[in-house]
């Protein structure tokens, strides 16, 4: 199942996550899983959760995991081979 956060990123919407989520829920594109309350004092009990959710999501590397691993291995091999060549060159001297 694709998460709401992933869909939000894919939509490239300019809206804040919370507004986008509400709009999609009203359009019927997303299910409403939790009940949000409007408090008389205007404080949003869920605001902190939503903000944290988006912040957590933004920490996820943009590069796909497989590609990131392949690049890391390639860098490791280059480093080892490069090191061996430099040390060989120094010993010859």
């Amino acid at each position: 199942m694709i998460s709401a956060n992933k869909l939000y990123k894919e939509s490239a919407s300019d809206l804040p996550f919370k507004e986008w989520l509400r709009r999609e829920q009203l359009k019927g594109n997303l299910d409403i899983h939790q009940d949000n309350y409007l408090n008389m004092d205007g404080v949003d009990d869920n605001q902190t959760e939503v903000v944290e959710d988006v912040i957590e999501d933004s920490k996820i590397p943009m590069m796909p995991v497989k590609e990131a691993k392949r690049n890391r291995n390639f860098a490791l091999v280059i480093g080892v081979v490069g090191g061996m060549l430099i040390s060989k060159y120094l010993f010859k001297k």
């Binding site: 509400r22 409403i32 009940d35 949000n36 309350y37 409007l38 408090n39 008389m40 004092d41 205007g42 404080v43 009990d45």
Partner: protein, 247 residues
Amino acid sequence: MVVEYPLYGESCTLGITIGCNTPTKISLIVEDAESEEVVFTERTGNLKGSATYYVRLPISPDVALIDVEGESSDVVIEDVKIMALPTDMSSPLFKRPDVISFINFAEEFSYDASSLQANATYSSDDDKYKIKYFEDIVDDSGTSLNTPARISQKTGLIEVSKKDFLRYTIPMRLAILLHEFAHFYVNKNMEDEVEADKNSLILYMGLGYPRIDAYNVYLDVFENSPTELNKERYEALQKLFSKNYIA
């Protein structure tokens, strides 16, 4: 000084003239003579000489108990007059049967809130509206919230804190319930607090309830949650209340 005054449950405005020879702080309470828990207004002020205080009573008891206390012992109720209650029901909202149904339900709930059992759900006569009455409103982790009431964006169910309602007069309670109602049933933008304030106060003031009680309850709520939004709401309320409106 305490005076009992028969009102026979009729809507009216009380003009209470209070006098004192020396400058003093006074408190004025109007409640149901049969139940001290049913309070229609509770005000304080400074008095020098003689002054008339107007108490609007869109809903009133059979017999009102007027209690005036002062720091000085010579504070007296000089006169009590019954006058007509000014109302303004020109708003199209008053033509909506669903709005009238909620007003009736909210007035009844506000009147009885002190004696109603907490941890129970109360419904309007047409079963359209429900109020869940808690001792205190808590979040999912069990932490007490500052808000005296809230409404579900999903179902329109209103939750009310008895802890807070016990401190409020009947008009204060009604102002809160109408605010929650406006969010879900009147607002164009459900989440807009300023719009909910405005829409609910059109109803509240149109019915003839005292401005001072609405002002006091909003201040109470804002004091507990001093946010930028609430500052904006306070400024909008100031504009609305500055219109000519006795009491």
